[in-house]
Amino acid sequence: MKYEVPRPERQVAMVLDLNKCLGCQTCTIACKKLWNTDTGTDYAYWNNVETLPGKGYPAAVHDPATAGRTTGGEVKRGVLPNLDEGYGRAWTFNHRQSLASAGAEEKIWIKPAGQVKWGPNFDEDQGTGTYPKDNHYFYLPRLCNHCTHPACLDACPRAAIDKRREDGIVLVDQDRCHGYRFCVEACPYKKVYYDHVRQVSAKCIFCLPRIEEGVAPACARQCPGRLRFVGFRDDREGPIWKLVDHWKVAMPLHPEYGLGPNVFYVPPLSPPKLDAAGRPTAEPRIPTAYLESLFGAAVHPALETLRAERAKRRRGEPSELMHLLVAFEWHKNFRLEPRQREVLS
């Protein structure tokens, strides 16, 4: 008894340029402070930034074995992450003892209370490869993809998850939710979280109250790197259509699950690997095969386009794509018309 997923009148979307993410976590904190300060979601980050190659957050999120879909898009049983090895428990610190020791001869340093096993960004900046030959990493900011065919919506036996007609934002009705967590299990991106105090599911709402006012989500608006673009899929004057449909340089994460994510990524270019003599080779440090495992085969022509447009700029020629990605005119990163209120100039 599958549900009919309502086809939204419009679909709000986001593009993130991974060439510009510096891993500062400003987006993470902007989101966390705005939406997730309750005890039951202490461990949860609707927006997170993970270092790749790495385990991700929760750990193993990029392992198809944890997904509620096969890589061919068929339903299969997914995995519920736990706190110890999946998300990592929120740490508590010995602030009181440390402060009390301020005047003492022997200071007590601030450190986590109890044994720390795992946590978000536990493998931050580790990456992989051998210095200086081919070591590499990049940052992947993640949020709910507000999918066109949401696995979470499909999984809820109480029909407590809805996709809004007016903008395609996927929401949990916490009055209907009974905390069964099939949504968490099914979502390959693990972007639905369980509030273990209120015993209901919770997820990114794409800063719905801001969107309704024509203001970009906090994660995008606060990004110092200006790497996020927000708008509607069907707006041909907006950055989403230009990057996704016109230039085809932005693609969804793990398209193989067939859910139609509405968050897109411009894949990262990288410096060349070095050969045994320390000379640059023709191969990028971030293996294209690895990027393909994240973004699908469309990553190949996207990287070609990015290289070609970058070369044009180096030759002093104009490039509409590079102009857009550099975000010289930042207010053009966000286009939420007809209720646009971003005035940043």
């Binding site: 008894m1 068929e74 339903v75 999984a155 273990h196």
Partner: protein
């Protein structure tokens, strides 16, 4: 008090293929055998109300899931039809509700529940009702004391469900009585 029903009921797995949505019927299609094989049930009238006792084998009880994201508690429910035609396997149907009580191991008080089909269960405070639970020697024993239960009084039949938390049973993943259990 004389029990109007006291029997051992062999349970069946609630059919996963009937569950709402596209995920559970496929992802849990293998759950065809009940993880709780049988329940002992006793029904006793108590003035205007009822006392219903359920007892079942549970080798690995889960009483609490606080501060965890991947665990589920043990639970059981009893429900009665409000209409002679109320179907049991779907927990009622629109206009043919079932009403009853839900006990969860992490709560002191039971919920009163109302459903008109799969995925429609509403939980509410069960005014005056109690559920006293104990686990001993590998068995749960839950005694519901209900001051007023018109559906059971008028229809004189009920059904029950048991969820084994350790096996991640919740929602439609449960062992249920194979139909309404009737008494004279």
């Amino acid at each position: 008090m004389t029990a109007v029903m006291k029997r051992t009921v062999n349970l069946m797995s609630a059919p996963p293929t009937m569950q709402p949505g596209g995920y559970v019927p496929v992802a849990y299609a293998d759950r065809v055998s009940p993880l709780t094989g049988a329940v002992e049930i006793a029904v006793e009238p108590m003035g205007q109300g009822w006392r219903v006792t359920l007892s079942w084998e549970c080798p690995e009880p889960v009483r609490d899931i606080a501060t965890e994201t991947d665990r589920f508690v043990d639970a059981c429910a009893i429900f009665a039809p409000t209409d002679p035609e109320s179907p049991w396997v779907t927990m009622g149907a629109p206009g043919q509700a079932v009403r009853g009580y839900l006990w969860r191991a992490d709560r002191g008080e039971p919920w009163q529940v109302h459903a008109e089909g799969l995925g429609t269960m509403q939980r509410a405070v069960a005014v005056g009702a109690q559920a006293n639970a104990s686990w001993d020697s590998g068995r749960w024993r839950v005694v519901f004391t209900v001051p007023d239960w018109p559906a059971l009084t008028s229809q004189r039949r009920l059904a029950c469900a048991v969820w084994r938390g350790a096996a991640k049973e919740r929602a439609g993943l449960k062992a249920v009585s194979p139909g309404w259990l009737e008494f004279a």
